[in-house]
Symmetry: C2
Subunit: 319 residues, 2 copies
C-alpha cells in the first residue's frame, strides 16, 4: 500500500465530508483539574463522538471517500476495538457491507459495538501476521476495500478534524496533546496543528508499557521489537511507518506515563469532568500531570480519545 500522507486540505475536505454524519463534540474544562495541573486544560470530549471514540471521524471519511463501485463491495479492517466499531457504523451510514477481523482478547464492550453496528466479525489470533492474513483472505473473497486503522490517508485526514475543531473553538494553545498508538490521531493532529497554529507545541502521550514511538524517536528510526504490556488497550500497536515519519517531521514530542498514573488520571476525569473515558484517553492527563513543569501557566488542548470501557471491570477496586 502506498504510504502517502494527507495534506491540510485533505483534513478540511474530511471535515466537510463527515459533517452530515459525525458530531461536533463538546470541549470540557474543570477548574479543579486546572488547579491540579497548574495550567488551563481544554478537553475535546471524543467519548461523545458517535461509536464512542474519535475513530468514527477517520472511518467515516474513508467510507465516504470511496467511489461508488468500490463502496458497493464493502470495507474490511482489523481492529482490537474502536476502529472496528467505528468502521462498522460508518459503513452503515452508507449502507455498505463491513468486515472486521478481531484478535482474541479484545474488550467485550468494543466487540459488542462492532456486532451491534451490523459488521461481520472474523476472529483471529492476536498477532499482526494473523490479522493481516485474515484481512487478505476477506479482501480476496469479497473484493472489500481495506481501511487500515491508522496508515490509510483518509483515516488520518478524518482524525485530524478533532484537533481542527478544538483549535477553532478554543484556539491560541501553547501546546496540544493526544495519545499515540498506531499514530492516526497524532499524525492528523500534527498536520492540522502545524498549519493552523505553527507556534503550538505538539505532544503525544504513550504508555510506558508500549513506548515504541518514544524509543523510535530516540533511535531515529522505527523500532519494531515490541511486546506491549499496558492497560491502554487502544494503544497496544506499533506506530505506523508513515505516521512515524510525520511525527518526526513535525517535531512531535512523546511523553510517557505508566498504568498506575493512567488509572489515577482516569478516576480524576470521571470525577471532575463526569465523562466516562477509557484508559487510552486518561493517559494524556497522566502524561500532562507527570510533566506539568513544561506546561505551567499555559493553555493546553487535549484530545480524550474514547469512552468504551467494560463497566464491570473498572481498574480501581472498591474502597
Amino acid at each position: 500500500m502506498p504510504h502517502t500522507l494527507p495534506s491540510f486540505d485533505d483534513i478540511l475536505a474530511a471535515a466537510a465530508r463527515i459533517a452530515p454524519h459525525a458530531h461536533t463534540t463538546p470541549v470540557l474544562h474543570s477548574r479543579e483539574l486546572d488547579e491540579l495541573a497548574g495550567c488551563s486544560l481544554f478537553f475535546k470530549a471524543e467519548p461523545l463522538q458517535r461509536s464512542g471514540a474519535f475513530k468514527f471521524r477517520g472511518a467515516c471519511n474513508a467510507v465516504w471517500s470511496l467511489p461508488e463501485a468500490d463502496a458497493r463491495r464493502g470495507v474490511v479492517t482489523h481492529s482490537s476495538g474502536n476502529h472496528g466499531g467505528a468502521l462498522a457504523l460508518a459503513a452503515r451510514t452508507r449502507g455498505i457491507p463491513c468486515h472486521v477481523v478481531v484478535p482474541e482478547g479484545a474488550v467485550a464492550a468494543k466487540l459488542a459495538s462492532i456486532q451491534r453496528y451490523g459488521a461481520t466479525i472474523h476472529r483471529c489470533a492476536p498477532t499482526q501476521a494473523a490479522r493481516e492474513a485474515a484481512c487478505a483472505r476477506v479482501q480476496a473473497e469479497t473484493g472489500a476495500q481495506l481501511i487500515h486503522p491508522f496508515t490509510h490517508p483518509a483515516v488520518i485526514a478524518g482524525q485530524g478534524t478533532a484537533i481542527l475543531e478544538l483549535h477553532n473553538s478554543h484556539g491560541a494553545f501553547d501546546a496540544v496533546m493526544t495519545p499515540v498508538g498506531g499514530g492516526g490521531l497524532s499524525t492528523g493532529t500534527a498536520i492540522a496543528t502545524a498549519r493552523v497554529a505553527p507556534d503550538c507545541r505538539i505532544y503525544a502521550a504513550e504508555p510506558t508499557g508500549a513506548d515504541d514511538t518514544a524509543r523510535s524517536l530516540v533511535a531515529g528510526r522505527r523500532v519494531d521489537a515490541f511486546t506491549p504490556d499496558t492497560i491502554c488497550d487502544g494503544l497496544r500497536t506499533l506506530v505506523g511507518e508513515p505516521n512515524f515519519a510525520a511525527l518526526r517531521q513535525h517535531g512531535v514530542q512523546v511523553l510517557v506515563a505508566d498504568d498506575a498514573e493512567t488509572i489515577s488520571a482516569m478516576r480524576l476525569l470521571w470525577q471532575c469532568l463526569k465523562l466516562v473515558v477509557e484508559p487510552s484517553s486518561a493517559l494524556v492527563l497522566a502524561a500532562l500531570l507527570k510533566h506539568r513543569g513544561r506546561f505551567a501557566g499555559q493553555r493546553v488542548g487535549l484530545v480524550l480519545s474514547g469512552g468504551n470501557v467494560d463497566l464491570d471491570a473498572l481498574p480501581w477496586g472498591p474502597a
Copy 2:
C-alpha cells in the same frame, strides 16, 4: 417563610443573572437508547453543570439576587449533598461566607465538594427537625440568609433555567421529565414549560421508596408520613408545600421506578452517553423505560440532574 412561587419572568431574569457564572450544558442523545425506548430522547446533561449538578443554577440565582447588605452576612442552608456544594460554590462566586448544615450519612463525594468550595460545615442528626434547628442557630449567630434547597422562590426560578435551555435548543417536545425530591427542579420545569410549550406534557420521576409526591397527588393533599428508602440519595426529601401546589396546578404526572430499575438505567446512561450520572438522574430514564408505552414515537426532553457519585461504591458489582 412566605411560600411564594416564581413567575415565568423570574425564570427569564434568573437565566440572565446566572449567565456569567453557570454553564449552558450540552444536550446528549443516543440512537441506542432511542431504539430501546421507542422514542426520541434529549438529555440535558446537568452533570456537566458547575458543581456537577443543576443545583448550581438555583443557588447561584439566590446568591446573586441578595441585596449587598444581606449578601455580606453570608448564606446558610441544610443539604445532604448537591445543594450544599452548589451554594458553597455560588457564594464563592460572590465572595461571601457560606454555612452548610449536613446530616450524618451524606455521600462522601458531595461532602468533599462542600469543603472544597470553602463552606463552613455544621454536622447534625439526619432528621428534618435537627436540620432546621441547626440552620436557625447559624442564622441567629451570623445573620446569614437561609437559602432553602427547594422552596426558595429564587432557587426554583434558577432551576427552571435548565428546561428553558432545553426547550430553546431542541424544542417541540411532546413531553418533558425531571426527577422530583423536594420539587425545586420539577416546579421550575413546570412553570417554564407551561409558558413556552403549553401542549407539552410534564412528568416527574420519583423512586418507589420515596414516592410521597405520587401518593400526595392521589390523596389530593401533601402526605407527610415518610420514611425514605432508596438509592437516590438526592430524592430522600418530602416534596415542599409550594412545590406540591405548583405541581398540582400544572397537572404534572408522577411516574415511579424502583432502585433495581434505576441501577440498570444508570449503567445504560454511563455506557451509551459516556456520562457519569448519579442514581437520582438515572431514575428519569428508568421511569421512562418502565412506562414507555406513553411515549411511543414521541420527542421527550429529560433533565439528568447530577453526576456526583462515589466511584468506589458503584451500585453494580463486578461481573
